[in-house]
């Protein structure tokens, strides 16, 4: 009797579930959740907009206003200064979409729309095109391309080399921004899944036969469950932080693209 014997098979099953299956054509098991999140965002924004007043009427409007205020002051004006005003709707869209997707993904049985590479790469490309567009609009194409190299690097070959490195790191933002969000969500769900599997495997012997061995495994199973609850709370925190980080980095990239440095 060894509860770990079934673990590899169960983990393989978990991984294939998390990887997402194609339901019909390009529609995977993740697609319904993306549509759900979009609907949730629309419902949240439009119901709040209808009740808008100078002083928030109820807790719901207050909560929505808190998110708007947080994005505007902490992410927008905090990073971009007074130039942030026209970018705030974009940051808010990113922030609320990613936050809701992450939080809905934590509900057992549902999937995080951001837990798949497809969604995060799409979000990253949107962000990339956005800051490149504003960079070119602010500098003009030629000066934007040159603006990656910092001023004051004297020998021309060295400046060219620094420009090349900065350009590569700018292109790598596509990779790091998308992989960060995806890997955080994916890793978190694997962790929770493995702990849930362990809890099940350790408590199952107790149901089939009541022996001293089974009782010991049952106690260990309860400890796995406690760990699961603690990490579940941490995943809620990670979901919020990752939405914040993605939006914050988007705003930093816009800041870097539209200022001289």
């Amino acid at each position: 009797m060894n509860p770990f014997a079934d673990l590899p098979g169960e983990i393989n099953h978990l991984l294939t579930t998390l990887a997402g299956q194609e339901l019909w054509g390009p529609i995977t098991t993740y697609t319904p959740f993306i549509i759900l999140i979009i609907l949730l965002v629309l419902v949240a924004v439009f119901t709040a907009k209808r009740q808008l007043s100078l002083v928030p009427k109820n807790r719901y409007v207050g909560a929505i206003e808190f998110f708007v205020d947080f994005t505007r002051n902490d992410i927008g004006f905090g990073v971009l200064g007074s130039a942030a005003k026209k970018h705030i709707p974009f940051f808010l869209t990113l922030f609320i979409f990613i936050l809701l997707a992450n939080l809905v993904g934590i509900i057992p049985g549902s999937k995080a729309a951001t837990g798949t590479m497809g969604t995060t790469v799409a979000l990253t490309i949107i962000s990339f095109v956005y800051f490149t567009y504003y960079g070119i609009k602010h500098h003009g194409l030629g000066r934007y391309m040159l603006s990656f190299a910092p001023h004051g690097v004297k020998p021309a070959p060295l400046a060219a080399f620094v420009w090349f490195l900065e350009f590569i790191s700018m292109l790598l933002r596509l990779l790091t921004l998308s992989v960060r969000l995806f890997a955080n969500m994916f890793a978190g769900h694997i962790l929770l899944g493995v702990l849930a599997i362990l809890t099940t495997l350790f408590i199952t012997p107790l149901i089939s036969s009541l022996s001293l061995d089974a009782a010991g495994f049952g106690v260990a199973g309860i400890l796995w469950l406690l760990l699961l609850v603690v990490l579940y709370a941490m995943e809620i925190f990670v979901a919020c932080v990752q939405a914040y980080v993605f939006t914050l980095l988007s705003s930093v990239y816009v800041m870097l693209a539209t200022t001289e440095h």
């Binding site: 905090g78 790091t176 992989v179 890997a183 955080n184 890793a187 980080v245 914050l248």
Partner: protein, 76 residues
């Protein structure tokens, strides 16, 4: 024999562990700096927190790249 049959998974896990060292040091240093900065100037908390999150995210990205590569190594 067991080590050989588990080769892909074992090496992937070891590779991720090695990658996590650097990311751990990076996030730790960012946390150290942020804690000291807040201790010196508590009124700058929100600005310092933003900078900390940015620095931690940069360091963490490498660890997470290692995490994804470990899975690719296991699948291959």
């Amino acid at each position: 024999m067991g080590a050989l049959t588990l080769g892909g998974i074992g090496l992937g896990a070891i590779g991720f562990g090695l990658g996590a060292i650097g990311a751990g040091i990076g996030v730790g240093l960012a946390g150290l700096g942020a804690t000291q900065a807040v201790a010196r100037q508590p009124e700058m908390y929100s600005r310092i927190f933003t900078v900390f999150i940015m620095a931690a995210a940069m360091a963490e990205a490498l660890g997470l790249l290692g995490f994804v590569l470990a899975f690719i190594a296991m699948a291959a």
